[in-house]
């Protein structure tokens, strides 16, 4: 049932287990508008991660006492399917999921014009169907697209990606085994507006120098992902436009 740990995660030619270079992202696939009922939705595959996001709102905040007079209440739930991980996960939210829901919400909010919709709520639901390291970053990337798909006005898309340290080398976009066996993991979310870092966490051990490099490497990763996000949205609007004009 459990994975076996390989002897080396990176070979002498700086090639990682899955064949990637040190600064290379995992293969990604993004789709928007994938769910029927949600106001906005998106799907991402990043390596073996498979994650769905849906947005409902803006709508009247419920329960009412949560409504904010001058802005929308942005809510977020990050949740893992029981079969998304090696050992079945109970569907009840774990402490980890509660924390991630919070930091993901705080990573998205700087991008959203919440002041446009006072007294409403905007609910973002993220479901991790399969997990392979870096789910919180992929969750932010895909949730940001779901918000855009719902037509929520935003300052920009938020892209997210981790950098880290594995067997002494700094690498981009760690997968599950690199995350578990590596020396450090630094997930980061970024939006081009204001060059803003909207999520930043770190686990492990990094010198100040390494830390600076890792932050920059993660930002570069986010920029690539941001490009892919824009393409996906554009492609969808072109498709919609064509459909409308047909």
């Amino acid at each position: 049932m459990a994975q076996k740990k390989p002897e080396k995660l990176i070979d002498e030619k700086d090639v990682r287990l899955d064949g990637r270079g040190l600064k290379e992202l995992r293969p990604m696939k993004i789709e928007v508008g994938v769910l029927g009922n949600a106001d906005g939705s998106a799907y991402i595959e990043q390596g073996k991660n498979k994650i769905l996001a849906a947005v409902y709102g803006p709508k009247e905040a419920h329960p009412k006492h949560l409504a904010i007079p001058d802005r929308a209440l942005l809510r977020c739930r990050y949740h893992m399917a029981p079969f998304s991980v090696e050992e079945r996960k109970s569907p009840a939210p774990s402490r980890r999921e509660v924390e991630l829901s919070k930091v993901i919400r705080e990573a998205l909010e700087p991008a959203v014009f919440v002041e446009y919709y006072p007294r409403t709520s905007i609910d973002t639901f993220v479901e991790v169907l399969q997990a392979d390291g870096g789910t919180r970053c992929a969750a932010i990337t895909v949730a940001s697209l779901a918000l855009a798909d719902a037509g929520i006005p935003m300052r920009g898309l938020v892209a997210a990606c981790a950098a880290g340290k594995v067997e002494g080398r700094l690498v981009l976009d760690l997968d599950d085994i690199e995350d578990k066996e590596g020396e450090a993991d630094l997930p980061l979310a970024w939006m081009s507006h204001s060059n803003a870092i909207t999520l930043l966490q770190m686990d492990g051990s990094l010198t100040l120098d390494e830390f600076g490099q890792a932050v920059n490497m993660a930002v570069e990763g986010c920029k690539q992902i941001h490009g892919l996000q824009k393409e996906t949205l554009k492609a969808k609007y072109v498709a919609v436009k064509e459909e409308v004009e047909e």
């Binding site: 498979k50 849906a54 639901f125």
Partner: protein, 265 residues
């Protein structure tokens, strides 16, 4: 249970159509919506399947783990079906512990699998009274457009058929994992067929708009031999004996069609 005006207007319209043998989306009374089935979609799961039934979408994943048997059946594995109506599937689903609807859904799917003896639970015993395999079947509703039961039961069966277990040997009470996998042994193929009663007529595979106006619902699960293995009436209306017997006959026929989608050959 609340019938706002909008729903009542729709109810009238749907009922009129049904009385003419027609449905809002163009189907005949005994037609299913289009079904798409994909298996092995979640590699981390021991088995998985996604079913799209019209716009209804359900993902089922299975996990197999070691655990303890129930004390009253010490030499049988354990089957556990759980259903999550995750909030991305519908504006009416909310985060939190499973509500009545999710529990009923899980239990109806569970009964189909259990009563048809689809899983040979005795084969999942490792050490009587101490160690057995637990088969978790997690139903994950991704989009709700009606008839979650049939979609979930179909996906659950497909996921079980897709489930593989590692090979193992028991040596001195300890499990030794051996290379390779073997498929989970599935002995029967239960298929659930659900009817809505609208204005005294039965329609197969109700979609959301029909569910909102139906009087009652009946689900009949039949096994590979055409025997009924589970049944569930739902909703605030009722059925006559005549309707129940008619539904059973149709359910058997429709189940045979649906079974072919999951069980090849």
């Amino acid at each position: 249970m609340k019938y706002p005006i909008m729903i009542r207007v729709k109810q009238k319209q749907i009922a009129q159509l049904v009385s003419l043998g027609k449905r809002l989306d163009g189907r005949g009374l005994n037609d299913y919506r289009g079904i798409q089935l994909e298996v092995g979609v979640v590699g981390r799961a021991e088995g998985s399947a996604r079913v799209r039934l019209g716009k209804t979408e359900v993902l089922v994943g299975t996990k197999i783990e070691l655990g303890e048997p129930f004390p009253d059946v010490p030499n049988q594995g354990v089957l556990t079906v759980n259903a999550e109506l995750v909030p991305l599937a519908s504006p009416t689903f909310e985060p939190g512990p499973p509500r009545e609807d999710a529990i009923e859904l899980a239990r109806v799917v569970d009964r189909g699998v259990r009563e048809s003896k689809a899983i040979a639970l005795e084969e999942l015993c490792v050490e009587p009274g101490k160690k057995v395999f637990i088969v978790f079947v997690d139903v994950y509703v991704l989009n709700h457009d009606g008839n979650l039961i049939d979609a979930s039961a179909l996906a659950a069966l497909a996921a079980l058929l897709n489930t593989k277990m590692f090979n193992y040997e028991v040596k001195e009470g300890k499990i030794e994992v051996k290379p390779g996998y073997k498929p989970l042994s599935v002995k029967n193929y239960p298929i659930a067929v659900t009817f809505a009663q609208i204005d005294d007529k039965l329609v197969v595979d109700p979609w959301l708009e029909e569910e909102q106006v139906m009087d009652a619902r009946i689900t009949i699960t039949t096994d590979k031999d055409g025997k009924i293995c589970a049944l569930q009436k739902g909703g605030y209306g009722y059925f006559t004996t005549q309707q129940v017997l008619e539904a059973a006959k149709i359910a058997k026929e429709k189940a045979e069609e649906l079974r072919k989608l999951v069980v090849k050959g």
